[in-house]
């Protein structure tokens, strides 16, 4: 890492990992106190940022635009949610060992696929493995037959729609439209305690830093260069002896896992997961985070996820009607005027500034404007 970059990333990591939780732990009358709500909100944003990193890896580096990442997010989130549901046990409204929605739906016995989720270790493994396996299967079929470009995007969108439809069904035993909610504890710690939430936040921030370093390592490696080559011209990469399908499959699985982990971190902090979070619209919203922040730069993806969601939580409370208009405008504006997002604009501006500063002393700026005319 170059020095200034290391410094900047380290500083941000320090603020996210240490400063915010510490501020939150301060007594409420302290001027530096960070309210629980804000920290919780940030936890959600950082979970989204993990997903955005994966999506950026896929789209910004390999040029594969997935409009179905909500599905992988959902797989991780539901895996975590199922474990939390089972942890409630008999403390639920109906005092049954079954989750409440199963009692409503007159399910008398816990479905087989729910049973392993009693185990915390299995759940943690499932959060990684289920999106990975599913992503592998889907990606294998898609990339093997060289489905690419808009074709791939359309197929992933259809995937998001199908998953949304399926998760909405009551007979899937996943809570139907209402999803999974009303969690009480996570691994024994009560979820409504500020300390638990602080711990979850810190875990999210930590995972984000690790994910960032992982993605950075991938993009700097030889594989990362091949990914960029594939993005720029798949045919040329193919003719140079690389197998684009394998590289794309690898990066697709990585980004699916990151999305799943993000979902798993999202659930205990937000307290609910419904099919509405995994459908077509949320999936494509995820893309706009990356686009707005700046695809092809990992920092941009993180900044986009946090920034856009911050804006959303502000706009949807203050001007609920305007949010979709704003989101649409953001899509169009970013694509038209900031194809490289905020990060790209900043880098561009910094480059121009540097060029200005590095001018040799003797050089004279060609004056521009009306005063140049004699």
């Amino acid at each position: 890492m170059r020095k200034p970059e290391l410094l900047a990333v380290g500083l941000v990591a320090l603020v996210l990992l240490v400063a915010l939780p510490v501020c939150n732990a301060l007594p409420p009358d302290s001027s530096l106190h960070l309210p629980d709500f804000t920290l919780n909100l940030f936890g959600k944003f950082l979970a989204y940022a993990i997903l955005a990193l994966g999506l950026d890896l896929l789209w910004g580096y390999a040029g594969v635009l997935s409009l179905g990442h909500g599905v992988f997010f959902g797989l991780g989130a539901y895996a975590m949610g199922m474990h939390l549901m089972l942890e409630i046990g008999a403390k639920s409204v109906y005092q049954s060992a079954l989750p409440d929605f199963m009692v409503w739906n007159r399910v008398t016995e816990l479905p087989l696929f729910w049973k392993p989720f009693y185990s915390g270790a299995f759940t943690l493994a499932a959060i990684v493995l289920v999106p990975a396996v599913f992503g592998f299967l889907f990606g294998f079929l898609a990339f093997r037959s060289r489905i690419r470009g808009v074709y791939f995007s359309i197929i992933t969108q259809a995937l998001a729609l199908s998953a949304w439809l399926v998760f909405n069904r009551n007979e899937m035993n996943l809570g139907g439209t209402n999803g999974l909610a009303d969690f009480k504890t996570i691994f024994g710690y009560p979820l409504h305690h500020a300390a638990t939430q602080r711990g979850l936040y810190t875990a999210t921030a930590l995972v984000l830093v690790v994910a960032y370093l992982l993605c950075r390592w991938i993009t700097r490696s030889r594989a990362g260069k091949v990914l960029i080559a594939i993005r720029d011209s798949e045919t040329r990469a193919l003719f140079s002896g690389y197998s684009p399908a394998r590289y794309k499959l690898f990066v697709f699985v990585v980004s699916a896992v990151l999305a799943g982990v993000a979902g798993a971190l999202y659930v205990p902090q937000v307290g609910i997961i419904t099919p509405a979070r995994i459908g077509v619209l949320p999936s494509i919203e995820m893309v706009v985070w990356v686009a707005a922040g700046g695809r092809g730069t990992l920092v941009g993806a993180v900044a986009g996820a946090v920034g856009v969601n911050w804006m959303q939580s502000w706009l949807t409370t203050s001007y609920p009607d305007l949010w979709l208009l704003f989101l649409g405008g953001l899509f169009m504006g970013v694509v038209l005027f900031f194809p490289d997002g905020v990060a790209g604009a900043v880098v561009g501006a910094a480059g121009r500034l540097r060029a200005l500063v590095r001018r040799r002393p003797g050089e004279v700026l060609t004056p521009v404007g009306p005063e140049t005319t004699p």
């Binding site: 060289r146 197929i155 995937l159 729609l161 494509i284 979709l324 649409g328 899509f331």
Partner: protein
């Protein structure tokens, strides 16, 4: 107990008269009228049953007068005269009413209203009167000039299976010209006879119902087949008829599925056609296509409201105006989109996809803010409601037939435009090789705009058609759009035929597997099927070939 006895007694009285509407004896008649004028609810009800049971139009008219409160009683208790009042007038200082006798309607002079006691029809009496008047009304409908009304009346009479209707149905059957009404009449007659007492008639009826493929008769036939009291010949006949009807039901179900598949395929085709043309020309998947459809639907809504306000007499024809209007509205918005933003991103399909998605959100939210989030009401014009009966128990709704016709027309129109006009020649030239076409003097920008306009217009047309089969709301486009993307992807960009085949395949397949899997899992199965299909042909059925395909 008493009301039951009364009813039984009356039923016994009326039974011989069934089907013949025998005139009432003078004594019976007098007893019934006296009972009506009295206060005993049970006797009054029995009297209505006696009078209505005659099925005589004149008595029915009397019952109607009774229901409407025009019947009066005059004289002493026990020897009252029941009269029907007609016109009231006030020649002096109190109202006077013209009186007529019941049944024959002979004039009985005038009397001051105050001297008469009104024979009021309470709720119970009105309830007793209603079935007689209704049955009569249904029988009257058998002579209606509209065959649909006649057919409906015949079906209703069959469901009632009232033996008294048999003679009326026979008369109607003798003079009926329309085949469908004849069928319904024959079915009703057979249903009535099946429930009768005469064994040869019941056997004939069972056989006839089998030959008529009457689904409505299935419960009755099954009951007969299971009835241990029924003669064995009748039971065998009923069983055979049941089998015949069930086989027919399977056949109609198959034809119906086929038709539904064709209908869904035409909807998909209407939507995907515009999408495919734009995709073929510019490589742009227009994510706002669904919202252009919604715009077309809302344009239809506005046209309808304009007609309702300005020309209420011609409101049935609003749809004919709405078709071109929705095309033009969507096309105009399409041109604005293309000229305004999309053309700046030429050659970057993924960016265009996001851009059009953004546009779709804005259009959708604008519609929501303007028209409200709730669905709006678009009424079907009268000539599109109802359906055309093609087989027994199978009526194809006009709106679906219309959509199939519209899709066929749209495809024919696109073929004509692309292969028979100069504009089409230019479009194809730019599609095949943009640079070369430009060198030869084709203004690619203009062709882009025009093509986009046509594609968007087709979306508007699809939206207009969709108002006839679904809800019109701001998210109308979203419900179908992913399916139409699948059609485009499966069809490929090389030829229109790909889109047509893909629409037919996806529409037929989803309706074919829907009964087995349910709508949701059918959709998932379609996605899997498309994925597997793309394993064989990654660029769809008809891929663009050659160097330009690699762009």
């Amino acid at each position: 107990m008493r009301p039951l006895l009364c009813v039984l007694f009356v039923a016994w009285l009326a039974a011989p008269a069934a089907g013949q509407a025998a005139p009432l004896s003078a004594a019976d008649r007098e007893r019934a009228l006296q009972a009506l004028a009295g206060d005993d609810g049970d006797r009054r009800e029995a009297a209505v049953t006696v009078l209505g049971g005659t099925g005589d139009p004149k008595w029915l008219a009397f019952l109607m007068a009774l229901r409407d409160g025009h019947v009066y009683a005059r004289g002493q208790e026990g020897a009252t005269e029941v009269l029907v009042g007609t016109a009231t007038s006030t020649p002096g200082d109190q109202p006077v009413i013209e009186l007529r006798s019941p049944y024959d309607g002979a004039a009985r002079g005038r009397a001051p209203l105050a001297s008469l006691k009104e024979v009021a029809a309470d709720r119970r009496l009105r309830v007793a009167i209603k079935p007689f008047l209704d049955a009569d009304e249904t029988r009257l409908q058998l002579a209606d000039p509209d065959p649909a009304v006649r057919r409906g009346a015949a079906i209703k009479l069959g469901n009632q299976a009232d033996a008294r209707s048999a003679s009326v149905i026979e008369t109607a059957l003798a003079r009926e010209g329309d085949g469908w009404v004849r069928h319904a009449l024959a079915e009703a007659l057979a249903l009535i006879r099946l429930g009768g007492a005469d064994l040869p008639a019941r056997l004939d009826a069972a056989r006839a119902l089998g030959g008529l493929h009457s689904t409505t008769a299935l419960p009755a036939l099954r009951a007969v087949a299971r009835d241990p009291a029924a003669p064995s010949a009748l039971r065998t006949a009923a069983e055979r008829a049941t089998g015949q009807i069930e086989r027919w039901a399977m056949l109609t179900a198959a034809v119906e599925t086929l038709f539904q598949g064709a209908s869904l395929a035409s909807i998909l085709l209407l939507m995907a056609l515009g999408l495919a043309i734009v995709f073929g020309l510019m490589g742009v998947i227009n994510m706002a296509h669904g919202e252009l459809m919604a715009l077309g639907a809302y344009a239809t809504f506005v046209v309808q409201n304009t007609f309702r306000a300005a020309w209420p007499g011609a409101v049935d024809y609003y749809f004919l105006v709405a078709l071109p209007v929705s095309f033009v509205v969507a096309a105009a918005v399409g041109v604005i989109l293309e000229r305004g933003v999309i053309r700046r991103l030429y050659g970057r399909p993924l960016e265009t996809l996001l851009l059009t998605w953004g546009a779709s959100l804005i259009i959708q939210q604008a519609l929501r803010l303007w028209f409200g989030a709730a669905n709006v009401d678009v009424a079907a014009p009268r000539w599109l409601s109802g359906g055309v009966p093609v087989m027994v128990n199978l009526t194809l709704p006009y709106n679906r037939v219309f959509i199939i016709a519209l899709a066929t027309l749209a495809v024919a129109g696109m073929y004509w435009l692309l292969f028979r006009t100069n504009a089409g020649l230019r479009i194809r030239a730019v599609t095949q090789n943009r640079g070369m076409a430009g060198c030869l003097g084709v203004r690619a920008g203009r062709v882009d705009a025009a093509t986009f306009a046509v594609g968007a217009g087709l979306a508007g047309l699809a939206g207009c058609a969709l108002t006839q089969i679904g809800n019109v709301g701001p998210s109308l486009g979203q419900n179908y759009i992913v399916d139409s993307f699948m059609v485009v992807v499966t069809g490929g960009v090389g030829k229109l035929a790909g889109t047509i085949l893909a629409a037919a395949g996806i529409g037929g397949l989803s309706k074919g597997i829907e009964p087995a899997l349910g709508a949701v899992f059918a959709k998932v199965a379609i996605l899997v099927a498309v994925m597997l299909f793309l394993q064989r042909r990654p660029a769809g059925l008809f891929a663009a070939r050659g160097r330009s395909a690699e762009a």
